[in-house]
């Protein structure tokens, strides 16, 4: 039930807190929307013991078999050191393997295992449901506009 902020017994402070100034910033809106999205996403992936980062990595490995860790780090926009623990975790759970690259003994070729692919398929289905939940109340046209705008914002200021 609603908090009785304006309850005269509840006394001090403004009856209702205004965030009008902040709402003038797109970042404020994005943060708040992303927070609720991420909360739902976390719950969505919990049954598979995946987080956003591990799911993202798993997906990119499924779609790009044999890619190297540095390529994955670039694609995910994370620093190489931070990717290591993600890959460690996926490998420890036997969802992926680090194959040595014969022609470059520094590099690993990342590949999904059978178990990894099976988990991925289930998680993907759950993510599709999550996506549907998130976009409830938005028509297709609006979605396209939003997606294009997000891409514009991202690409326009992407680090060179």
């Amino acid at each position: 039930m609603k908090k009785a902020i304006s309850d005269p017994l509840g006394q001090p402070g403004p009856a209702v807190v205004s965030d009008d100034t902040l709402r003038g910033f797109i970042g404020y809106r994005m943060k708040r929307a992303f927070n609720v999205l991420q909360a739902d996403l976390t719950q969505t992936l919990k049954p598979f013991e995946l987080r956003m980062l591990t799911y993202t990595a798993l997906t990119l490995i499924v779609d790009n078999p044999g890619l190297r860790q540095s390529q994955l780090a670039d694609a995910m926009d994370v620093e190489r050191p931070n990717l290591v623990i993600v890959i460690d975790e996926l490998e420890r759970r036997d969802l992926i393997v680090r194959d040595r690259v014969p022609t470059d003994r520094r590099a690993y070729a990342l590949r999904v295992t059978l178990a990894g692919r099976q988990l991925y398929e289930k998680a993907f289905a759950a993510m599709k449901d999550h996506e549907k939940r998130m976009l409830e109340g938005l028509d297709a046209e609006t979605c396209k506009t939003v997606i294009a705008a997000l891409e514009t914002i991202q690409k326009h200021h992407a680090k060179g």
Copy 2:
């Protein structure tokens, strides 16, 4: 300059990493867009030694003088414990004060100081520039659509 991923000497891994599957998720787009936005925002606020959280808190205190910490926590969608260190920091820098509420000795009424307001005004101007940068390339109609969509996503799944 561009990484020569497809350089035949650079050898292994896919020539180009595809993220088509992930791009089917609005969350992926939002995260990436928000990441670049936050990077710019962090730089924007750095001269004032403010972070997104401290700027947000300062703004809400300026706009809602006398509000209590719990109201601020609610408005910011952060847990009360996490707000404490934010308020501590603003108070330590003499940007705000914690006034005791005479009618409820448990509560604090938060108010901006003169120094706080002056810093706020400067930061606000910088934030307006930041906002303009972020929305470069998007017309007003698109902005409205995006903002409405973000609000729909947020409100629809707001924690009751």
